[in-house]
């Protein structure tokens, strides 16, 4: 599972509210789609939990369902308390899990 964290805007100070965009490359199969050749149902495969942590403290927890689009985007706000590490842990219903980190470096 490839992932990406984007923080907008790029330059921010401590105390600013920034947007954190988290993207994951994932098929987000609903389990309702059929294989066009065989007619068999394609098993459900979707991200079901995403946790946003700052310096190992939970900021936001998400319970996700298969209705999110393929390669889902999840965007939240975050009030920057100071420098530290942002960590996003995403897990899918097949047990696959991935951790992505990004440094938080406020200027000034």
């Amino acid at each position: 599972m490839k992932t990406l964290i984007k923080i907008k805007p790029k330059d921010y100070k401590a105390g600013d509210i920034v947007k954190i965009d988290f993207m994951a490359m994932h098929p987000m199969e609903t389990g309702m789609r059929k294989n066009k050749d065989t007619g068999a149902l394609i098993p459900a495969e979707y991200i079901d939990e995403v946790k946003f942590m700052f310096n190992d403290t939970l900021i936001t927890k998400m319970v996700i369902w298969e209705s999110l689009s393929v390669n889902p985007l999840m965007s939240i706000s975050f009030k920057v308390p100071g420098a530290g590490t942002l960590k996003v842990i995403a897990k899918d219903n097949k047990g696959q899990s991935v951790e992505t980190t990004s440094a938080i470096n406020p200027k000034g």
């Binding site: 509210i17 947007k19 965009d21 987000m28 609903t30 389990g31 309702m32 789609r33 149902l41 098993p43 459900a44 079901d48 700052f54 403290t57 939970l58 900021i59 936001t60 927890k61 998400m62 319970v63 996700i64 369902w65 298969e66 209705s67 999110l68 689009s69 393929v70 889902p72 985007l73 999840m74 965007s75 939240i76 706000s77 975050f78 009030k79 308390p81 219903n93």
Partner: protein, 156 residues
């Protein structure tokens, strides 16, 4: 006589089917590889625990009125509320009222967010209302909805 007893038996069987709907907990449902299904009323009741939803202008939802492609529909929700330790938005829930599984995402926020905001892209099987529910720290549930017309469904 035979027909009558058959009807009686049939009636009893039908009553059983209605009386015992299959209620799967979220956890056991997620283990199965098949499709999850939940209708709107059940999903709302699971979130609010039976409390009333109050439509509120504090919940602002940005979604297109017409989506040409139901596979990628951008949805942004902002809740007008302080995010202090005393008063904040506990959670934002997004539901697509007519999808097979109406639940899209449940976002559990903390005061560290600074602002109650969630943005994503969802799949819609057809024209329907997208509903956002904000769970406030005082235990109330505010909601907003928007009808999205879908030209090509996103679940096939």
């Amino acid at each position: 006589m035979e027909r009558r007893s058959f009807l009686k038996g049939f009636g009893a069987a039908a009553a059983c089917a209605i009386a015992l709907p299959h209620v799967a907990s979220a956890a056991e449902e997620k283990k199965s590889g098949g499709p999850n299904e939940m209708n709107f009323e059940t999903a709302v009741a699971a979130i609010t625990g039976g409390k009333a939803l109050t439509p509120s202008a504090k919940v602002k939802m940005e979604a297109p009125e017409i989506a040409e492609n139901g596979a990628v529909v951008p949805v942004k929700v902002t809740v007008d509320s302080p995010m202090s330790a005393k008063e904040y938005v506990k959670a934002i829930h997004i539901l697509a009222s007519k999808n097979g599984n109406v639940r899209c995402a449940n976002i559990y926020l903390t005061p560290a967010n600074g602002e109650a905001y969630f943005g994503t892209r969802i799949k819609l099987g057809g024209t329907q209302d997208v509903v956002a529910i904000a769970e406030m720290s005082d235990g109330t549930f505010l909601s907003a909805k928007q009808n999205v017309k879908v030209t090509i469904g996103g679940c096939g």
